[in-house]
Amino acid sequence: MGIIGEWLRRLGFLLRRQAMEDDLRREMEAHRAMMADPRGFGNTLRLRDEARDAWGWRWLDNLAQDSRFAWRTLRRSPGFTLTAIITLAFGIGVNIGMLQVVNGLLLRPLYEGPEQILEVHTRSTKPDGGARGLSYANYLDLREGTKTVFADLAASSFLLVGVDAGDGPRRAIAFAVTANYFDVLGGRLALGRPFVQSEERPGADARLAIISHRLWQQRGADPTIIGRTVRINGDPFTVVGVAAEGFTGTGIPGPEVWLPLGADDRLSARDSHELAVVGRVRADVPVENVAPALATSARRLEQAFPDVNGGYTLTASPPSRLLFMPGSGSAITALLALLLMVMPAIVLLVACLNLADLLLARGHIRRQELAIRSSLGGGRWRITRQLLTEGMLLAFAGAAAGAVLSSWATDAVMASIRPVLPVALSLPALDIDWRVIAGTVGFSMAASLVFGAWPAWSLTSRAVVSDLKRHVGEEGRQPGGIRIGKALVVCQVALSLLLLTTGGLFLMSAMSAATADPGFALDGGVLAEVDPGLAGYDEARGRQLHLALVDRLRAVPGIEAASIGSSFPFNGFGDSRLVAPAGGADPQSRSVDAVFAVVGRDYARVLGLPLLTGRDFSDAEMLPGSAERVAIIDDALAQRLGFGTNAVGQLIQFVEDEASDAKQPLRVIGIVPTINHSLGNAHPFPHVYVPLGQRYESAMTLHIRTGKESERAMLGTVGRVIRDVDPRAPVLRITTWRDHLDTGIEVVMFRTGARVFSAFGVIALLLAVIGVYGVKSYVVSRRTREFGIRIATGAQPRALLWQVLREGSRTTIIGIGIGLLLALGAGQFLQGMLYGVRSVEPLVLAGAPLILFAASLLASFIPAVRATRVDPTVALRSE
């Protein structure tokens, strides 16, 4: 009570301070009046001040006073203030923006009580054994057997389905989940109810769905959605609930729909290990107890069902946050993430250097003011604190402006990524939470310390007297302020050049990606993605539909050729296989990784590729059960397999293909030219094509050659033809080949990267210009007297102008030199992320420094002109 009571009283004093001060004044007056000799009473003002200190609010008074003063000072120089705030807004803005993305994707807890949630894996006990999921039967046993450590266990299976919410089918992620799934993860529902036990059992055939908040929003946030239907793989499912906003399950991206576990018909058997199991550890159980309990359960399961559970144990770990990494190389993704964190940090650093410059330059103008204040008894710490307060005020204003800026930036980045992702998915809402706020305040504090405290300290370190007398004999040497200012500019120019060249490299990479040569005539073609499986069609009906579509399209006037294939270049996902010459020992060692595609007749012709040798697939090979397994390969594969010029007739085989007939060799019947399949590859990737009859893929792309002029007009025709053939056929997309490349995930990723990184570069350039301008102005204002004398003694203004510009260039050139070294290093580092760009790119390495040099020349031009306009009489009298 003691401490709290004291604080309450203190607060009371603060709130009623006027009355409290009046009391003090009145009682001191009374005291004085009662004294025999009132002159013995000290300075009443000071005594009151001292008495007030007992309240413990001195710091608050000082802060308020400092802030008021800082506010007045800043308002008096709006140019400086605005520049400083804009500089900081960029520096802090890009950082909050990136922090928000990183926070949303990587840091923010996705579910309640994250430390208690563990994922249970089945792991092989063999030394290099892999992991697998659990079967439903094993899950049920495990749930019973681990009640001592887990409050509850939930399970889910991952499905790719076709969701049709009234606007045509789309590929989407679905989770089939146990009834307790939402409960275990603490995931709330915005509407409706979770699943119940009876809907969970395999074979329950419960056609029910809980939809994601995003899907619900896309359907207009209909409040009466409960009880309505969505089509999943062509079947109607009744919506029973809508998940809360931002709930994505245990990972990102989350599913579009949740289904009851009973809807996944793979799950009845004990050897169908499809389930991912997550559990909430009991609050009264330490997490260390989980592993031994799981080991015990695993042994029991092994003894009870040795045939399916033999050689497997159970382990637990926190669920992995990212469901999968888009693209191929996760190392590149990690590198990109690192870059996205490092680049904004450099921008912030440049911004801070800049502000240090600005404050230093400004400090010079205020030196006399500070000197007077210091001679009037303003302590060094007091003055430093005053300047610090100014810095803080700027930092907070900058952070506020930066927050606004960043929300635009994140929205723009997310908006440009979302439409090109191959499946619809739910990302957690990127709201500003306390971490982002903490981060912002942290940045502001750090920024204020870096650019506020240090110049303040260095300004107040000089002897007061010399500052009052100002200047005598100063012209010959460079005062510390200028030297430090120049060093700052060198750093700034170097870092800006680094950012500028990085931006340039990404920009060039995006340009060469957009103009990439696919190796076939891109113009004059239309593609349509169809996936009968999404409408619930089985293999027989799917095959029938594929062939019917191709046949009908071939008959349409204006269509030169049509075919079908399991993939189209540049869609970001390529199926690939290890191919080796058939026969002989150790095929693995002689295998070549090749893009694998199931294609129809005329496939090469549609792409405009001549058959180099051999023949095309026949109509018979479009149907299953044809006599011989055949393949067409491209010349790159023929070379890599060592077939030379007589590849036709050779036998090849797939290595490590899980399909049952994979070991049967295929006869090469034709050779086609190599095309580019992906922008990520430095060299064209080899291809192997097999005919439709040999393998069934539900998701196929119709390839249609239309002729250059008519491609856009044909888009509608193609859609109509498909609907004519089968109104229920799920069409995912109809577009021209050119648009497909331009809006494909690869080009857009390069383009987004270019946009983000060149934005960093431009911001850095801007900041560098501001920095150079600030320091140049400072230098010129310090040397006003020198210029005055020289003009008075007949120096030509032009000569002075050149001198100032020349001196400025020296600093810039040193900065550019250091920056070029950094840029070369960065180029090496970035090589893997860039397309069609060398790490040493002369255009960038020459262009960026030139731009920077020109900009900094321009920035020093204004102060240089000012130097030539110095009025000698004013300059000499100014002392």
Binding site: R10, M34, A54
Partner: protein, 109 residues
């Protein structure tokens, strides 16, 4: 301009509380009482007295109230509170312990 109050450091609050424990007094009267009772040995300056009184108020050991003095002047009179008495006892006990320890030390030496 620091003036010697004659009071050992840290004892001012105790002394003020002790004076107030007899009767409520206003600031001037507190200073007078301290001087008289110490046989003019100890004096307390306004510069120390008023900060000390403010601190005592904040701590809740005294309460102040305005009243008219005998001479018809408005004065703020300080009255010791229950927690102020407890504090005084604690401080006096502590002071006695210290001073007898110091006595002992001085005698032995």
């Amino acid at each position: 301009m620091p003036r010697d109050t004659g009071l050992p450091p840290g004892t001012l609050m105790m002394v003020v509380l002790r004076v107030l424990s007899r009767q409520p007094l206003h600031g001037y009267a507190i200073a007078q009482t301290i001087r008289q009772r110490s046989g003019d040995e100890l004096s307390v300056e306004e510069g120390s007295l008023y900060p000390a009184l403010q601190k005592l108020l904040i701590k809740g050991w005294v309460k102040g109230s305005w009243r008219e003095s005998d001479s018809g002047r408005q004065v703020r009179e300080y009255r010791i509170t229950a927690s102020g008495r407890r504090q005084l006892e604690d401080e006096m006990a502590e002071y006695r312990r210290m001073s007898s320890a110091i006595d002992l030390l001085l005698k032995e030496a």
